[in-house]
């Protein structure tokens, strides 16, 4: 893996060299800054072959726009090269697929099928707690905006853990003639909060986003700060990749692919559940 990084290093440095300018002793830094994939926007442009090595944008009318050779050069350095889980074979298969001569694949900002996973800190009952927000880009009548689509908050999930079926399965119910006694027996539900879910519909699932909004409105959750961000991409059919920011020294930095998987339609659902902690 390390060997492969050094093979790619000349590409990174070549990108940087073109514009390296010295400010005192900063030339090494400056090369690295050129090589860095500075924004998600730049990741998309480099992935698609929509900018030259100086970082200047290509437009559809430019000859080099989506140039296959350019993409072949960029794509290998858009992976986190310090991750041994990303095998060379898998990366090559992915690169070959997206740069296929007849049917190349591109990423699109407005293409859907990508989500942001934002780690945040909230104060909850006097303690700092991590909250994960999942955001999606939503198209509007005019323009677009990011919206909160899901949340993961451990205290919420814990509170709604499915009750132990062995204990409650055949004991916790409102009998079918409860209506004839004016549901006076309903008081029993509330004596056992742990099994309350058994009195809800079969297909009931807790809506944590509503709970999150409610707790904020009631002042029980207070936003503190953001603490980390990554993205999950499903835009390339049968593939999933994760995009993370690497703030480190060297030429393989910025927004890079940190995980890559070949997936089937069923796997996507499983993976989404995993990402959402469901």
């Amino acid at each position: 893996m390390k060997l492969h990084f050094f093979l790619l290093l000349p590409v990174c440095i070549a990108m940087a060299d073109l514009h390296a300018q010295s400010i005192g002793e900063g030339i090494e830094d400056e090369r690295a800054l050129y090589a860095e994939t500075k924004q998600v926007n730049q990741f998309l442009r480099r992935f698609n072959g929509e900018e030259n090595v100086q970082g200047e944008r290509y437009y559809p009318e430019d000859r080099q726009y989506h140039n296959r050779r350019l993409r072949k050069k960029y794509l290998p350095i858009l992976f986190n090269l310090e991750n041994d889980i990303l095998t060379q074979e898998l990366k090559e298969e992915f690169i070959d697929l997206v740069t296929d001569r007849k049917d190349p694949k591109y990423l699109a900002f407005h293409g859907g099928d990508w989500i942001a996973e934002l780690k945040t800190l909230f104060t909850h009952k006097g303690q700092d707690k991590e909250m994960t927000l999942f955001l999606k880009l939503q198209e509007e009548k005019v323009g677009s905006k990011w919206i909160i689509d899901h949340i993961y908050f451990e205290p919420f999930t814990r509170a709604f853990n499915p009750p132990d079926t062995n204990i409650f399965n055949d004991k916790e119910f409102l009998h079918p003639l409860s209506h004839e006694v004016g549901f006076m027996n309903i008081f029993r539900l509330f004596n056992k909060p742990d099994s309350l879910e058994y009195y809800a519909a079969k297909n009931y699932t807790p809506d944590y986003l509503t709970l999150f909004l409610y707790e904020i409105k009631k002042g029980n959750l207070k936003f503190k700060t953001v603490a980390g961000l990554k993205f999950h991409f499903f835009q390339i059919d049968d593939w999933y990749f994760e995009l993370s920011y690497f703030n480190r020294s060297g030429y393989n930095t910025g927004w890079l692919i940190s995980n890559l998987m070949k997936i089937g339609p069923e796997d996507k659902k499983i993976l989404m559940k995993y990402i959402y902690h469901e």
Partner: protein, 191 residues
């Protein structure tokens, strides 16, 4: 005065006399002109930060430059700062950030800007304004009287709002693009 010069630049750049519309397409040529206008504001920001941070700048002058700097920003813009040791963001209103810079306890401060920038695409927001992000890098070096040197390089991701406006000149409605800076994400980069 500065704002007038920006506006004039855009008139010259585009010769626009169209009616205002949120849906105005930004062609590559127009995008390039808006980019250079935004970069002019970023360069002003860089210049102002260097003046504010310099120990040679008198207090009254630094205060005046802070006011000028704030004119570059939309109201309520925040600086979100994280360090290598702490990924969590600390928020500062722009004025507070600049005042802290002014009051830094170093005898000598050098702020240099790398000649590197990355300009994102402009995206249309639901309110009809366009938004983009420009990434720049800054090197800070502060020396205290006992010779201790603090150095860092920060990446600054600066939000840029681009709005189509119109004004009346000689009874004629003239459209132009105005650029203001918004929230700035400041990340300490690996040295």
């Amino acid at each position: 005065m500065k704002r007038i010069s920006y506006i004039l630049m855009l008139f010259i750049g585009f010769g626009l006399t169209q009616t205002l519309s949120a849906q105005d397409e930004i062609t590559p040529e127009r995008k390039r002109a808006i980019d250079s206008l935004a970069m002019e504001k970023i360069r002003d920001l860089g210049k102002y930060i260097s003046i504010i941070g310099s120990k040679e700048t008198p207090f009254s002058e630094a205060k005046r430059v802070i006011d000028r700097t704030l004119e570059l920003f939309v109201d309520d813009a925040q600086m979100g700062v994280s360090s290598l040791s702490r990924e969590e963001i600390k928020y500062y209103p722009v004025r507070e950030y600049l005042e802290r810079l002014m009051l830094l306890n170093y005898d000598n401060v050098t702020i240099q800007w790398f000649n590197i920038q990355y300009i994102s695409d402009l995206e249309l927001q639901p309110d009809g304004k366009y938004v983009g992000v420009i990434t720049i890098y800054q090197r800070f070096e502060g020396t205290s009287d006992d010779g201790l040197v603090y150095k860092d390089t920060t990446k600054k991701d600066i939000t840029v709002y681009v709005e189509r406006k119109e004004t009346q000149i000689g009874g004629k409605l003239i459209g132009f693009w105005d650029v203001l800076l918004g929230d700035v994400r400041v990340i300490e980069t690996m040295k």
